[in-house]
Amino acid sequence: MDFDLSSEQKMLQDGLSEFLSKAVVATRLVQMDGAEVDALRATVDAALFDMGLAGILVDEAHGGLDLGLLTLVVVAEELGRHAAPSSAIRNALAAWVISSSGSEAQKTRWLGGLLDGSVRAAFAVQEGDSWSPEAWTSGLDGGPLNKRNVEGGADADLLIVALGGPKLGLAHGAGITRKEPRPALDTTRPVVDLAIAPEAIEELQGSERLAAPLRDAQLALLAADAYGAGQSAFDMSVEYAKTRTQFDRPIGSFQAIKHQLANMALEIHPARFLAWYAAHAWDAIPADVEHAAALAKAHVPDVAVRTARATVEAHGGIGYTWEYPLHLFLKRAMFDRVAWGGVEEHRARVATLSAW
């Protein structure tokens, strides 16, 4: 019985945390415009790709590290914890998709760039109001495919496109039309709507078997990211309660604040392990992965948003200002809650998968 990160995973976590806490300064991040966030993302990515993190899910024969999803979940936790902009997770998943189902030509063309970061990937998934593979219907014999809310879509070099079947395809170059971008809720992860011409898409052979695992991996990673964001907001709130004084004493000495924080601790700390378990199931317990990923995605972002909202309340007025960076983590968790389907959608899936 070993329900913990390995010593390598802990080292990775420590290293990332040390790097990100210097590279991503939340008080500066809140003041950045889109171009400055892009520049910060490039700085973060330079380090992450240098560490080979985009190859975490890729086998060694294809130049990856083959470490499994739990290791990538460690990366997602740290990115969430620091509200860091990065393409590394998207590239890691795209590299896994192509190394698992691409033709030799596709691998040759894309894998190296995805692993070293010179190619940036994005996932064009959502159709209408659904992210679910069961609802993917896009075909290649009609008009342009309308894909909504593509994270990283504004400057991606390569799109992984969800198709009916469910299958996956690749798209790049001309034939991709980007709609007018709107101000992003989470400024570190702007999304854009796309129209993709069918002739710009190459189908990935054998990608049918990747649709569900791709969804499950995304759910576990979003849960981990939400945990990181929620935990960060919580840690800020605890520190603030120790230093902010009112009535001549730290507000953290009042039971009202203490009990609020204790209630948050009760939810946010254990939530982490749902994401860990989902990732471990993805790596090692295939029979349990769909349920575990759905449960993690239903539960963790829900807890993270509730926690982050409560931390704003526990801060008081300062927490409601743009310049104080607490809202970065609230918005990060809100993004995680929505992407790839909401809380109720995944609770309904949990119920069905449990045969209730």
Binding site: M1, D2, V238, G252, H259, A262, A284, S354, W356
Partner: protein
Amino acid sequence: MDLEFGAAYQDFKTEVESFLAQHWPPPKGATREERKAATAGFRLAATEAGYIYRNVPRAYGGAEQPPNVIKAEIIRRAFAKARAPMEVPGNGVALLVPTLLDCGADWQKEQLIAPTLRGEITWCQGYSEPGAGSDLASVRSKAELVDGQWVIHGHKIWTTLAYESTHMFALLRTDPSTSKHEGISYILLSMKQPGVTIRRIRQISGQSEFCEVFLDGATTPADWIVGEPGKGWQVSRSTLKHERNMVGGSARTQAQFDSLVRLAKTTVRNGRPVSEDPVVRSRLATIEGAVKAHTYSAYHQLTKDAAGEPLGILLQLNKLSSTEILKSIATLAQDILAENGLHMPPSEGGTAKDHPELWLNQIFGSLALSIAGGTSNIQRNIISERGLGLPREQGV
């Protein structure tokens, strides 16, 4: 990460399972008395084999095994699967024995532990008083040394199963000139004596496990004190620590959640199982998120404990986490029961199939958990002060 116990433990698991296959259950059709004797015999064999009372020395009737949380978990699961009894339930084994091992005199360990493990001596906990609940250090019941024995006067309350207990371990004030934590002693006494009067308290569940105990000139020998006179508070802290570990287990929350799912699947409303109602399904999934997070937290703590690493705040979250989960289970159970919960359950017997209202025992029992063994609000103080490092409230 690896949720299997690994090859190293496979032999041990097999050994436990074959022990159970050989020793449990007793033959079908055994009388109540025969079954009781068989249970006692089984516990002796399980102790001899090293499966229960693992941290108690052989000299005191225990199994004296080196600490190994993984083995302990394998044993717990195998016994649960075989529905075999583990240690004698109750305060004696869970609370007093660890306290005696930590702080007791040699003669106390030699004479009191073994019969407690066999269930021959049973213990109730004399802590709370009408004026000393969460503020336990304000106990006023007092013991005075007169002619070589303690003479005790006072009033204890919420004493679980006092009427079936042969003995009590109590916090009593032995130095009346002091207040609060100083001057309290940890004293043992017999419940079977004229100076002890028990009144059972009828609870909201209709049951009466909690009692008031009136101590009116009860006596106990001078050396029936654990630790130094006046140091009872420190002695009792080790007991509270054990109690928190005891009620934190995640096995109970998972088992109750599984029962809730069965209730939802077997209760029919408008011609359909309630489990088909989308709102009920969503609420079940919401609870399952908390149940599984709690379970994995326990796995993580098990891993840390086995590696000798500190458990941090997770340990302090365990009791409140269980309490809150059982509360959410109770809330949904009541909605599923609906009018089936408008009658109190039979006081004895009955099966869940014929008497769905037996769920009321869980519904009310989950409330008791928010009070007993440190209330939920005290847990929140512990989490925020010891876990998060927030300052103590001034003047407390």
